[in-house]
Symmetry: C2
Subunit: 134 residues, 2 copies
């Protein structure tokens, strides 16, 4: 698929899967809501339940910033399958204005966040490359 279609599909997707790597070198994988803003993907860590699971990805990117986000389409008609993987480096958003802008973008995409704004950290994935199939 061409870059414009890949970008449109990523923008339209409601869910993605985010992979990071633990300090022990194990992959860590969670589904997440996200928004693409230029060359950065933002996602919020849900405040509840406030488990170590939610914090794991933050500890991971502090130790190893490499991360990957996958958007894909599955159907039992395998002629319609596609996926797009966004590779990049991740960081916890520290700047208050960048965090505010990211939350606004997330809320514009997901009305659910308007009722319950994400109270926790916002993760930024600065895109370094895309892969898509087919």
């Amino acid at each position: 698929m061409d870059d414009a279609l890949a970008q449109a599909r990523v923008e339209a997707a409601r869910v993605a899967r985010l992979a990071t790597v633990t300090p022990e070198g194990r992959p860590h994988l969670v589904p997440c809501c996200f928004v693409l803003a230029g060359a950065t993907v933002y996602s919020a860590v849900d405040g509840k339940p406030k488990t170590t699971l939610a914090l794991r990805r933050l500890a991971n990117v502090a130790a190893n910033p490499h991360a990957a986000l996958l958007v894909d389409h599955y159907d039992d008609d395998w002629s319609t399958l596609w996926w797009i993987r966004v590779d990049g480096t991740a960081r916890v958003v520290a700047d208050p204005s960048e965090r505010e802008s990211a939350i606004a973008r997330l809320t514009a995409k997901y009305p659910q966040y308007a009722r319950t704004p994400p109270p926790g950290a916002v993760l930024a994935l600065d895109v370094t490359g895309w892969r898509s199939w087919p």
Copy 2:
């Protein structure tokens, strides 16, 4: 969710996402069809297109066998969300009878494989732990 529900959901899922780690410590992430057989998850590397992408996960697990498989459900009604992550160690199936058995299980789950049996490698993920939410 309890273990029985988690297992039933994993068995019923048609697609999962598989994360491995490259020798450079970057996460690698692909969607895959799979079948759960006892404490092992099998997936086949599609023969076509025979790109380096399909081979990457095999090289990754040869260097670092840690892998994770994620099955999840997304809906805009966030009260219905759930996910299950299976962590384990991955290996390319070398034993011909284990490969034959895995292909038979994959074909029983996916009729698509009956028409075009996967010609390439079969990956086994030997499960070491489960996480589920909520």
